[in-house]
């Protein structure tokens, strides 16, 4: 049933940014940014630290209104709609993992995952408990269900945050550096999880990540942002960018070299 071949061919991208300019006050972070996220793809947002990846994510999950341009969800202008409509979309479709996990510190891990279900579904407590255990089990955290966030390690917090993002079975997932702070085994398990979630939930994933192995393994499309020119300098899947991109900066990033080295090598 989750077979992508059976899904109706759909020409409008699920998510699209059109000439978006993002800024904090007078400070412009990205300008004239356009990108398409196809339904069912795993879309990587790449770029050096501080280039605005988290900021782009913020504008897609409703936390930062773009100064200019549009963000379209299935052709619908997200920021043009009412606040109520945005909340509605966010609740029913978005699952977000924040860069610092952002667990609610006063609640146990289990309650963190359960809260969205308690607020927005009519499920009874036993079912909720089962689903909470399931989500935590998927990220290997079922043993930590009754711990407080302050009692977790950094990587455990990340995984708990991921479980919370999955709480309402969203179909659009936003992950800000999900594998930062995880060991290689857990990190590759997470890659599997993301791939399988995409298939079983028919989900689309927008992922910010620096982990090249994981990007090559899972992402099938992406964009490369640049802090200097403040816009996208390359589009395409991470492996395509690594192999074919002519931009020295992108190649250096994808091949893990210092820019100075590669510049010297080219010069």
């Amino acid at each position: 049933m989750a077979d992508p071949l059976l899904a109706p061919a759909n020409k409008t991208p699920l998510l699209a940014l059109r000439d978006v300019t993002l800024a904090f006050g007078p400070k412009i972070i990205q300008r004239d940014l356009s990108l398409d996220v196809r339904r069912g793809s795993i879309f990587a947002v790449m770029g050096g630290s501080g280039c605005g990846k988290s900021t782009v994510l913020k504008s897609m999950i409703g936390l930062l209104r773009p100064r200019e341009g549009q963000f379209l969800i299935e052709g619908e202008d997200y920021w043009g709609g009412s606040e109520q409509r945005r909340t509605e979309i966010g609740r029913s479709r978005f699952g977000v993992l924040f860069q610092n996990a952002a667990l609610w510190s006063a609640m146990t891990v289990g309650m963190n995952v359960a809260l969205p279900m308690q607020m927005f579904t009519k499920l009874d407590d036993t079912t909720i408990r089962r689903l909470v255990m399931l989500k935590l089990g998927l990220v290997g955290m079922e043993h930590a269900v009754d711990l407080l966030p302050s009692e977790l390690s950094g990587g455990m917090r990340k995984r708990a945050g991921l479980a919370r993002a999955l709480s309402l079975d969203p179909d659009i997932l936003f992950f800000d550096e999900p594998s930062a702070g995880l060991d290689p085994i857990t990190s590759s398990r997470l890659d599997d999880l993301i791939l399988n979630l995409r298939d079983s939930l028919d989900a689309t994933v927008v992922i910010v990540s620096h982990e090249l192995p994981s990007l090559f393994a899972i992402a099938d499309d992406g964009v490369f942002l640049d802090a200097q020119t403040k816009t996208a300098i390359a589009h395409g899947s991470p492996s395509a960018l690594r192999d074919n991109c002519t931009d020295p900066q992108v190649r250096a990033f994808m091949q893990r070299e210092h820019t100075s080295d590669s510049a010297a090598g080219k010069g």
Binding site: A2, L123, L131
Partner: protein
Amino acid sequence: MTSTVPDTTSPAWRLRLTNGRNVLALGGDWIAQSGHIPEFPDKGLLDNKQEGALAFDTGDLGRWDSGLIAFLWDVKRAAAVAGLPLDGSTLPESARKLLGLLPAEIGEPGLSRSRGFRPFNWLGGKTLGMFAEIGVVSELLATTVNGGLRAVVAKAMIRGVDLFDNVRAAGPSALIIVSVVNFLIGAILAFVGAVQLRRFAADIFVANLVGLALVREMAAVMTAIVMAGRTGGAYAARIATMRGNEEIDALEVVGIPISDYLILPSVLALVFTMPLLYLYGCLVGMLGGFVVSISMLNITSLGFLHQTLDAIPFDQFVFGFTKTIAFAIMIGLTSCRIGLQAGRSAADVGTAATRAVVIGIVGVIAMDAVFAVLADVVGI
């Protein structure tokens, strides 16, 4: 999801034997949000001693989401209990993979500390905690005084900017609330005095009452209470938040002493500003008393001024001034201490702020009582 059938049929499962193998037949729609996901009994496979793996028949399986996975996980655990291998080859591929990520048994859940209520533990802990607390606050006082002395000889790691920021946040921005409170207190004292003293035709002594009460007690106590609520609470919340964000840990690792960097500027800021606010409070309070007296009683403004100046000996000011400094140190130290020992959650920050305000206010009044007794002994 991609199914065209809009309404759901309820999920069903049946364990049957086909060619000597266990086969679990799944049918219907397994949608978590429907709330009707059956549970597979823990020991449901124990009495099924058939050879070979448990297979699945998904011929009638309709739509599914995490509800199906939840059920399959039950099956996986039950199979593990019965020592039966699973053959998931007929399951939808992504379901099989998700199932593969789930553990075959749920580990012992780690229990969070500090759960449940045990009265004796609680009482004992509180009592011990109180003594420990007195020790810690004294130590904090010692390090702060030490830091203060070193600051005088310019050896402490206190930065002028921090001190300046703290002083600005504590002092000038508190002027309005200190004015309002003290003006009203002065006015209220004058009202009370006026009603009583008019009966004895001793109108002019309202000035004595207002002046003495303000300088000796009210201006000092009211200013301290305002500052405990305003600045003490803010200190506790700020330090508790820093602890939650591991900022305090970072300071410790870098080797910046918390006492110099955080506590000293906070306490000093209060020590600098509160006595000034006290003097200012006395003035504003007298103004309040003056306004009421002039409008209610048969007194000239010059007479009121004279009487006030006569009524308050200088040592009363010294007394109030000293008290205020003591209040400042107490508020600064306790609120920083409460912030430092707060937990790491957002709720803990709120609790810390509340505790700092409550302890600050109670502490001010308790210390004031001690001062009153002392003053009586010394004879001020």
